[in-house]
């Protein structure tokens, strides 16, 4: 039993309310972490997973107290130790990696000082030894320019790099136990895989034990040896990763597993030939848009350049890309929230004014925008019933009993109980608020809804329910949907067509199944390959495959005189804006790929 690094036994943690009463958060949890083992704590928000993980450092967030049980780090019960007694353990025996490195690094201190600080202050390493160790870690974590990166300030490096630097900060003191709290959740999929790979490599090389907190089962499958499934402060199921992934027993674990979307593949052949009427419901053509002053008809900061998309009646167009690719901007341009600098937006073939203030009430009604964060999209001072009533009154002039009846219909449509009409938004959970958000858009009886990352702020289980609801609505009321997401597997699960956005350009567009099968745009390929699979060996395979195949393929392609697609598909049109470095390949009637040679290589 000497190889047990950490052991929680009957651990209870509770919050103290303002009136002095106690609210249990963690209700008696047992698990142990052995040397060299990665134990994952998985559950949705509110399950107590972060709280449990922090107890390994003898720490509780303000307002919480350990109310019972033991948390033994290397045999010592940290729940009974004073802050002074804990100081030499923290950063030395056990180290913490937080979700947001950007907030966790002190903006006023150089990176190297923060990375080497713990062992130097604790006196276990001299500054020179710590610097040496830090340099080793920068190299091991694949950080660019390892010799100099430490002399920079946190705001001078990228988010993905900062996340890895935080791992260096945690590992610099050679701790016996690492606590990782959702360290890749805030990252783009393509960055996530890089960081995940770096973490896994360092953990294995160093032989450090780790507690890995996440809500993402697919990520857990890659990195964990043992999984603890939590719900509402209690362990529902725990076991070796193979057992949990391949043979879950508890209904909650099964529910979690069901929410994981399979890797998107082009199997359902019916989506290659989407039959649709020739005139699209809503279309954006050659749209260029951005922020800042207009200089010569172009915005100062150009986010979208010459983008064309359209969506047919009752169809779903998925728009995918990483943060900063311009996908939200595209939706905002269609809605008229951000007027396009050039290009056209049309509804049922009729041209719409770029600025929503110039659009007619009926035009506004027909295109409804659904925001990502239901928290900020619903006025906290209005009751749900009032929120849903307003569009009914504003657009249709409904009032009295008729309007109340319609509000009930809408609530039923999004599967919320009728008594919610009298509640305020803060009385609802995140998923319920997102349903209200959706219902408000539906209240206008629109032709098209623009869903901007509507599931990204939700836990996977809750998000899956919202997706199911959206599918339902599409099938039943025939509303067209522009669905924006950074998550390809979510989009692929119900979009008819997919447009891949990269750096403000549509680099590939076509029916879902065409996009998901070769030939690929290298960026599409990178996105597909970055989606973690529930296969526990996926990341290990990716270790070779990912870096050699996709990235190098992309590089090769961009450096080649002509791209591999050129010999196989007709070159349709060079991009009028950048004649030199852009070529469009028409793969089929509906499917095209744009090759942006000599642009940034990801």
């Amino acid at each position: 039993m000497t190889d047990v690094v950490y052991e929680a036994e009957g651990l209870r943690i509770s919050a103290t309310r303002k009136d002095g009463s106690e609210l249990p958060i963690v209700k008696g949890v047992d698990f142990r972490v052995r040397r060299g083992q990665v134990v994952a704590l998985i559950g949705e928000s509110g399950s107590g997973k972060t709280t449990i993980s922090l107890s390994a450092l003898g720490y509780c967030k303000p307002g919480l107290t350990i109310s019972g049980g033991q948390a033994r780090l290397l045999g010592q019960d940290v729940t009974q130790m004073s802050t002074e007694a804990l100081r030499p353990l923290r950063g030395e025996k056990v180290a913490y990696l937080a979700q947001s490195a950007a907030a966790t690094f002190n903006p006023s201190l150089r990176i190297n000082e923060q990375v080497t600080e713990a062992p130097v202050v604790h006196g276990t390493k001299t500054q020179a030894q710590a610097d040496q160790r830090a340099l080793e870690l920068y190299r091991a974590l694949d950080l660019p320019n390892p010799e100099n990166i430490g002399s920079r300030y946190p705001h001078q490096v990228s988010g993905g790099q900062l996340q890895r630097l935080m791992a260096a900060m945690a590992l610099c003191g050679d701790p016996d136990l690492l606590v990782l709290d959702e360290p890749t959740t805030a990252l783009d999929v393509t960055t996530q895989i890089e960081v995940l790979k770096a973490f896994k490599k360092v953990i294995k090389d160093e032989g450090t034990a780790a507690i890995y907190v996440t809500h993402d089962l697919a990520v857990v499958a890659q990195i964990a040896d043992y999984i603890v499934v939590l719900y509402n402060g209690k362990i529902q199921e725990k076991g070796p990763v193979d057992v949990i992934v391949n043979n879950p027993q508890h209904p909650y674990t099964k529910k979690l597993m069901a929410a994981v979307r399979p890797k998107p593949t082009a199997v359902e052949g019916d989506r290659t030939e989407t039959v649709r009427d020739e005139s699209p419901r809503v279309a954006a053509e050659h749209v260029t848009a951005g922020y800042g002053k207009q200089v010569g008809g172009l915005p100062l900061v150009k986010v979208l350049s010459d983008v064309s998309v359209d969506v047919g009646h009752g169809k779903t167009l998925g728009i995918i890309g990483e943060s900063g690719s311009g996908k939200s901007t595209l939706a905002r341009t269609i809605a008229g929230l951000l007027p396009a600098s050039s290009g056209e937006v049309s509804l049922n073939g009729n041209l719409l004014p770029p600025d929503l203030r110039k659009r007619s009430k009926n035009d506004l009604r027909q295109i409804q925008f659904v925001y990502q964060m239901a928290d900020t999209a619903l006025n906290p001072r209005q009751r749900i019933g009032d929120i849903l009533s307003r569009p009914l009154q504003f657009y249709m002039g409904l009032s009295g009993r008729e309007r109340r009846a319609k509000v009930q219909d809408l609530l039923e449509m999004v599967k919320l109980p009728p008594e919610f009409a009298t509640r305020l938004p803060h009385e609802l959970s995140g998923g319920q608020k997102q349903r209200v958000n959706l219902a408000r858009a539906l209240a206008a009886d629109p032709e098209v809804i623009l869903c901007d990352e509507v599931t990204s702020a939700l836990d996977s289980v809750v998000g899956a329910d919202v997706i199911a609801l959206l599918q339902d609505l599409r099938d039943n009321i025939g509303v067209s949907n522009v669905f924006i997401s950074h998550d390809l597997s979510t989009v692929a699960s119900f979009a008819d067509e997919i447009a891949v956005l990269y750096a403000g350009r549509v680099v590939e567009k076509g029916p879902t199944d065409c996009v998901l099968q070769p030939p690929f745009h290298p960026y599409t390929k990178l996105l597909i390959d970055s989606i973690p699979e529930m296969d526990t060996s996926w990341l290990d395979q990716k270790k070779q495959a990912h870096s050699t195949s996709t990235k190098d393929l992309a590089k090769a392609w961009y450096n080649a005189e002509s791209c591999p697609l050129c010999s196989r598909y007709p070159v349709v049109a060079p991009d009028p804006a950048n004649k030199e470095d852009s070529i469009v390949h028409q793969i089929s009637d509906k499917h095209f790929i744009e090759c942006l040679r000599s642009r940034r290589v990801f």
Binding site: R17, K18, D19, R32, R34, R35, G36, Q37, E44, S45, G46, S47, Y59, C60, P62, G63, T83, K204, D225, Y226, Y231, I235, Q236, E237, K238, G239, P240, V243, Q249, H250, P251, Y252, A335, L337, L356, R359, L364, F369, Y371, M373, T376, A377, L378, N379, P380, R381, Q382, P391, F394, Y395, E427, S429, G430, G431, Q432, R440, D459, V461, V462, T536
Partner: protein, 309 residues
Amino acid sequence: MTNPAYQDDEHYVAPFSEDTQFGELKDSAPAAKYRPSVTGWFGILVVGFWILIAVLGPFVAPYGENDLPFPDAYSEFQVPQPGAWLGTDVEDRDVLSRLLFGAGRTLGISITATVMAYFLGVVLGIGAVVAGPRVDLILSRINDAFLSLPTIMLGLVVVAAVGSSIPVLILTAGFIYTTIVFRLARSIGMEIVVMDYVEAARARGEGLWWIVTREVWPNAALPLVSDFGLRLIVVILFISSLSFLGLGVQPPQADWGSMVRENLGALQYGASVVPVVAPALAIASLTVGINLIVDDVSAGAGGKLAKRM
């Protein structure tokens, strides 16, 4: 995975019933309602007392504010004694009576000025935010110019120009503090108009009136109201300071600030300290009382992490 010897094989499944629903968990418990602490209650008591006095003062005062109740008294500056519980002042008037008369004046001027500042500041501040960047820029620049002047200087310039009277005092203080309320209302409004629900209302096609009254105002009201107390303190101090300098409420009308001034000069000739202390203490207890309430309402914020160090 790499070393099977490290493997912990235990597979535990918690007892469950098949029909358990694993609903979405709620993140936070609702915030507890405000309950005054001991100091809070003390503040409420003191402020309540003064408001009562401000209204009833003239009716319960033993003498008129300019009565000379002791025409036969030989010594000036009488020390407190039965009949003149707070003594008499340099002009042989009863200090207690003047204090009771002054309460309504001091509080009345200050509250009226603060309400005026709030009305103008909120209307202009939120209006500037909602009306768009051009209006906002113009109003903000003008406001910044006034804000870069010390308030007492503005007060002095106005009083130098038009002389002092109660309406002038109210308008001056009201106008000066409009600038500060404007800035506050604008910054609160700014935080609200960038919210998606306001954009959603614009996207729906709502007009300016709806956006201001239904979307912005209900969310701005609470933080603005909680600042009212602090602003009232500052206005009371401003009015009292002007009166103390002899530039506020003019004699023979009684006001707490001018009462301090009237009786201060006699101190060096060995007069009783009570006629100076009483009005000064009245102002201090009123403003401190308000501050205790304000402080109590906003208590408990911050400092939690520092305790874990």
